[in-house]
Amino acid sequence: MTPDTFTRSQWYAIGRLPDFEGAEAKPVRLLSQDLTVSDAAGVLSVNDADGRSLLTQIRYGHLWTTLSDTPRPLYDVPEFDEPDRRLVTAGGVGVRCSGLRCVENFLDMAHFPFVHTDILGVEEHPSVESYDVSMDAEKDEIWATKCKFFQPMASAAASGGQMTEYKYRVPHPYSTILYKTCPIREDVWDLVGLFIQPVEEDECIVHSFILVFDEENTDTGLLHFQQNIFLQDRMILENQVPRKLPLDPRWELPTRADASSIAYRRWLKANELQWGVALFNEAA
């Protein structure tokens, strides 16, 4: 299947800047297409298999490109410009499932106690309290707010259990950002996010980042915390069947805790997204 218009019109992160240092036609795969990245004296360029030069931009610690000549603008994350924040980019991790499934899993708090046991959740507190989900119509993005969850070790800087407040943002079909209570500063949010590079309809590379206030941990300590959490998710993601995202309501019955997932699926449907979606009769 060729990517639908909504999918094709997006910008995609394809790696961190150091990943392309001195690159000479380094192969990269995006939306089932072979691309190459080259570094000419610090200027990165991306070409498709026919040698056509693609648009690029450098933002949020990553190189972004698009197959479209007229892409939708890349969403703003103003927190990247705030002083004192620490940015740690965790590198691309391959996952054998649709990137859409990775976004959906990221939004799902119900898995914390069972997948991230004793870090992001404890089995004694499995319940997800109700939260608000809204569409920002102007920016065309989803926000889930007032999410609360008991976490024994919400981040590398946490010194004990806390009721963590969360906000989730989905500004792009393959990006999602979590805003969570900062354990060491009042009234600010720490950010954790995924920039997903869809490789095939059922395969992706997840570039994750953390953008936090933290005075105690080294960058490498933060990196290990983040990578450990994501590898816990990866195993769950790879065991999901089908590997593409099932959008057909006949498939999986959503529950109340899945309010953000329902909003995400509706939003994908409203934008007529088809690439990466499992068809009900395909699996039968």
Binding site: R16, P18, D19, T89, A90, G91, G92, V93, G94, R96, I205, T218, D219, T220, G221, L223, H224, Q227, N228, L231, Q232, R234, M235, E238
Partner: protein
């Protein structure tokens, strides 16, 4: 005692396991293996000229190679003398044999995992095929051990051979290697995760 550690490394996990089994106090220094390739940096090459992790610093000396560190820790700090059974010559050779086998698991099953998870450029089909060949040998061996009443690779007690083989077998699924065909390996994994003070690493599928 300090372990130069990477959280996703199965070879570092071997050392973390034995440190926990022996309840040895230690510090960890996090190494940015991926994406930063810190193990290939000039500073790290001073510590290990091979540019590999793990490395253990003990009494001012650096010890490299996961299997060598296991032998070091067990022979020096295991009061029971069972993890590296130095007083049982008949068993010691077998343990050493499976330590070498563990290295072959690293070059096959771990390679497939590096390809699939971290995007390493290598022949993944060859790596997976090599792992399956080794897993068949290990599965047969473990089944034979069970028939003789032995639960572990080298006999009736777990040794460093079990620790050395465990991580990249148990993490094989990360690299697209199914353990479905290896029932004796599955039973051995279940026994292993039930050892006292065992800690799970992400990517390990417990067959229950």
């Amino acid at each position: 005692m300090k372990l130069f550690d990477y959280v996703l490394s199965g070879n570092c996990y071997k050392i973390r396991l034995l440190l926990d089994f022996l309840e040895l106090s230690h510090e960890k220094q996090a190494v940015d293996f991926f994406p930063g390739r810190e193990h290939k940096s000039d500073a790290f090459l001073q510590i290990n000229p091979l540019g590999q992790i793990p490395v253990l610093e003990d009494d001012g000396a650096y010890i490299r190679d996961a299997q060598a560190i296991l032998v070091h820790l067990a022979s020096r700090y295991d009061p029971t003398g069972t993890w590296w059974p130095v007083n049982d010559p008949s068993q010691l050779g077998r343990v050493a044999q499976w330590l070498a086998f563990a290295d072959s698991i690293t070059s096959t099953a771990s390679a497939a995992r590096l390809h699939d998870v971290l995007g390493y450029d290598l022949d993944v089909a060859q790596a997976r095929a090599g792992a399956h060949k080794l897993f068949r040998v290990l599965d047969d061996h473990l089944a034979n051990q069970e028939l003789q009443g032995f639960n572990w690779i080298a006999g009736s007690r777990p040794t460093v051979a079990d620790i050395a083989c465990f991580p990249y077998v148990a993490l094989a699924g990360d690299g697209g290697i199914e353990l479905f065909y290896y029932p004796a390996i599955q039973r051995w994994i279940r026994r292993f995760v039930n050892l006292p003070r065992f800690k799970l690493m992400p990517g390990i599928n417990i067959f229950d």
